[in-house]
């Protein structure tokens, strides 16, 4: 039973750390399926986390914080869109620029406004998300096997956690069952086909980029309003890049994206869990190695374990009408 308990704890924390990855990877799914590569998931998430922390601290309202997160993230997305869609700039350069600007700006603004070394003030109850407990969770916790699964694994998360996992089938439905999704996928494969069908390539791509902004906003808000009570500088810690890796690993498919994010989340949770604990046969493993595990796995998986990941054909290429 002890092993089972450990497993439940591990899976519970897997879900907790996977949420921002799911949001960010789905965000990337929307833009990349539309043919706009986005390396700035990281920056948008960080900007959103800061906006959420700052706005919630000032307004004392979690909803104002969430709205600010989405707004900032969408604005950053539009900057990326303007550079890469309207101005046909290099999408990687634009994305990297956003990551750098946000990394610096959040610290400067945080220090200027709150004078806590780049942090935002710790959020009190009401200004951050609360745990949602399912009815009867406490009552059946002691039921063997099913009890802990229901009470600890399914119940007891933040509202945004449920939103994140609900977004997986919703994103699938939007992409594969609606007109918008059909056109969005088409524009990422062959924008010429979309243009000649009388649909605006530019407006379509902007809408995809806005979808990305909204989802990155949720990811950032989760970091500073749910996972922790306030913004800490650099708190995304590369999650945007991991989400990007998960997206490629999942071959740009929504349900695969969720499983990829859970896998990376699991490794992260495992790394935390195993810190300092001796492993059988191997002995004590340096903390740094455990922390590096998700990243090492990313490299290994992307280097060839998953077979050929075929990106959207028009990805990264600005659309120019052919002469």
């Amino acid at each position: 039973m002890d092993f089972f308990h450990v497993l439940i704890v591990l899976l519970e924390s897997t879900i907790r750390v996977s949420v921002p990855l799911v949001f960010a990877a789905l965000a990337g799914l929307f833009t990349e399926r539309a043919g706009v590569f986005d390396i700035s998931l990281e920056g948008k998430m960080l900007g959103a986390a800061f906006a959420a922390g700052a706005a919630a601290a000032v307004s004392q309202s979690v909803w104002v914080g969430l709205a600010a997160a989405v707004l900032v993230s969408v604005l950053l997305s539009l900057v990326h869109g303007y550079a890469s869609i309207t101005q046909r700039g290099n999408q990687i350069v634009s994305g990297v620029a956003i990551n750098f600007i946000v990394a610096g700006a959040t610290v400067i603004l945080g220090e200027a406004w709150f004078r806590q070394g780049g942090r935002t003030p710790a959020l009190v109850e009401g200004a951050r998300f609360q745990i949602v407990n399912f009815p009867g969770a406490d009552a059946i916790r002691d039921v063997p096997v099913l009890g802990p699964i229901y009470a600890d694994l399914l119940s007891g998360h933040f509202l945004l956690t449920y939103v994140a996992f609900a977004m997986v089938p919703i994103s699938w439905w939007i992409l594969f069952r609606t007109r918008f999704g059909l056109r969005l996928r088409a524009v990422g494969e062959n924008p010429g086909a979309v243009d000649t069908a009388g649909i605006s390539v530019i407006w379509l791509r902007y809408r995809a980029v806005i979808c990305c902004g909204i989802l990155c906003g949720f990811a950032g808000a989760y970091l500073s309003l749910a996972m922790t009570a306030g913004f800490v500088k650099g708190m995304t810690a590369g999650k945007g890049y991991i989400a990007l890796a998960a997206l490629i690993f999942a071959k740009w498919r929504p349900v695969n994206v969720m499983f990829a994010c859970l896998l990376f989340g699991f490794l992260d949770a495992l790394a935390i869990r195993l810190q300092g604990a001796p492993l059988p046969l191997i002995g004590r493993v340096p903390v740094q190695l455990m922390q590096a595990l998700p990243y090492i796995l990313t490299v290994v998986l992307l280097a060839g374990f998953i077979g050929k990941a075929i990106p959207p054909k028009a990805g990264g290429v600005p659309y120019v009408k052919e002469r």
Binding site: L182, E189, T196, R323
Partner: protein, 511 residues
């Protein structure tokens, strides 16, 4: 005026300094097939793009069915009943036929509601015009002929009365092209108007009712097809008399210069592209390889040139073996007397950002004439380039100009001059006249014949059957990676076409 489908009045369009269309007037009658012919860069595609709303004309008027319309985008063109089949298909390859047909005309926000309707409409169109295609097939799994059919269905699905086809036969086998012509005749019989753009005179004569000729952005003439001739059209296109048939004497084959034995090439996915191919080329003869693009000709050429590893088999150059399965080195092959004019001059043959003179020595820069081992001898290189420019009539005659600024035909001449002037023993040429104007084609063909008459062994790969037939002394046909037959250049087009489609070849191999 009821029988006029489209009228263009005074269409003018410039891209920066390039005047693509000058004061174009064109009248297309309803229910006819109207051909538009002209060399590459004559402005045909630009004109059609204006008609389809891809570009805006700087000035001029478009009348559809007698009424002036403003066509600002493809939507307006579709609304006016104009549909276009593009030269490069505008299809999403990992979508199904149905999804491609629906794209942009879905009716509903939610796909499910529109799918049933689209499916039954597609069925009706298939029946009405005899255009069968499986609606659930993925585009990438369909042969090009069927992909083109999907493009036509797309236009019909949008209720197009006027169909524009831009160079539609470039990607088709002769049999597929014939099938397309039958479809077009059928569409015409149903009252559709068809504008057919091409640079192939034969096609114009075969199916059009009227033909308009463009040259350097101007509409120079319109003729009733029955009252004109290939010779007249060619002259109108080029602006001077052209020799359409290459004059050549009998070949005098001598020693074997290039011998290919059991050559097999697999691509990176392990798919066999060239399958156990054996042939030889003698000094003083031209061996042509015919076939629909993608049947292994490219890989064969690349393997012989040492750019691509062969899986098995052998190649002998001047009687000495080439290490085609191991470390064949293009530079070494060149030094042993092999010259290669690659199929894709933009990506393999030239560096478009370089000056003409630099491209004229590309790959031969170690030659002591051009460099002392460390520094290039710029003066010698430029002087040499200028000689070639004169000899090959490369225009504009400026060795310092960036190669990207030359037209396709002149770029091709730069590559040909570089390779032919090395005085090789064996010359292998891929698609010598792809994207090249009629005038330049004549010149290039003459030079290839001259090389033969000087006793070079020439291996020629082209998807243009006419070219293969008029230049070659022997024709090998490739299908699915194998040589499925050898014919003399007197073989009929139909006979070769069947071989290219893999029909005859299978029978022959079985016997």
């Amino acid at each position: 005026m009821d029988d006029i489908a489209i009228e263009l009045r005074g269409i003018d369009k410039s891209f920066g300094p390039v005047h693509a269309n000058r004061n174009i007037n064109l009248t297309v009658r309803k229910g006819t097939i109207h051909g538009i012919i002209g060399e590459n860069g004559a402005g045909k595609s630009t004109l059609m793009s204006i008609l389809y709303g891809f570009y805006q004309a700087d000035s001029g008027e478009i009348l559809v069915g007698g009424r002036p319309v403003a066509i600002r985008d493809p939507n307006a063109a579709i609304a006016a009943g104009i549909g276009m089949v593009h030269q490069h298909f505008m299809l999403v390859e990992n979508f199904t036929v149905l999804e491609n047909v629906m794209l942009g005309a879905e009716d509903n926000q939610i796909l499910n509601k529109g799918i049933a309707k689209a499916r039954s409409e597609l069925k009706r169109l298939e029946r009405e015009y005899a255009l069968e295609v499986n609606p659930d097939a993925l585009i990438e799994d369909l042969p090009v002929g069927l992909q083109q059919r999907v493009e036509i269905l797309k236009a019909l699905y949008r209720k197009a009365d006027i169909l524009i086809l831009d160079e539609p036969t470039g990607v088709l086998t002769p049999a597929e092209a014939d099938h397309l012509f039958r479809i077009l005749a059928q569409l015409k019989a149903q009252g559709k108007t068809i504008i057919f753009i091409t640079h192939k005179l034969r096609e114009i004569m075969a199916i059009t009712d009227e033909v308009s000729v463009m040259r350097r952005g101007e509409m120079v003439a319109t003729r009733t097809t029955g009252e004109t001739s290939v010779e007249e059209l060619a002259e109108l296109m080029v602006g001077r008399r052209v020799l359409l048939r290459v004059e050549k004497g009998d070949s005098k084959p001598a020693d074997v210069k290039l011998a290919v034995q059991g050559l097999t090439v697999k691509d990176s996915r392990g798919v066999t592209m060239v399958d156990n191919v054996t042939f030889e080329v003698r000094a003083g003869e031209i061996v042509g390889i015919a076939g629909v693009a993608g049947n292994g000709q490219s890989e064969l050429l690349e393997a012989i040139a040492g750019i691509r590893r062969a899986t098995s088999g052998s190649v002998h150059l001047n009687g000495r073996p080439v290490d085609v399965t191991g470390h064949a080195d293009p530079a070494e092959l060149r030094s042993r007397g092999l010259a290669h004019v690659p199929e894709d001059r933009h990506h393999v043959g030239l560096v478009l950002k370089f000056e003409e003179s630099e491209n004229a020595i590309l790959g031969y820069h170690h030659d002591p004439r051009y460099s002392n081992g460390v520094f290039l001898n710029i003066d010698a290189i430029r002087k040499d380039a200028e000689e070639k420019i004169g000899k090959y009539d490369i225009r504009p005659p400026n060795a310092r100009l960036k190669t990207a600024n030359f037209s396709g035909g002149n770029q091709q001449k730069i590559v040909l001059a570089r390779e032919m002037e090395r005085d090789p023993d064996v010359l292998i040429i891929g698609q010598p006249t792809r994207g090249v104007d009629v005038g330049a084609i004549e010149f290039i063909h003459k030079r290839i014949i001259e090389m033969r008459d000087q006793g070079k062994a020439v291996l020629l790969v082209s998807v243009e059957l006419d070219e293969i037939r008029s230049l070659s002394d022997r024709i090998l046909v490739m299908f699915a990676g194998r040589v499925v037959g050898e014919r003399s250049p007197e073989a009929t087009e139909g006979e070769l076409g069947l071989l290219m489609a893999g029909v005859e070849g299978r029978k022959e191999a079985a016997e």
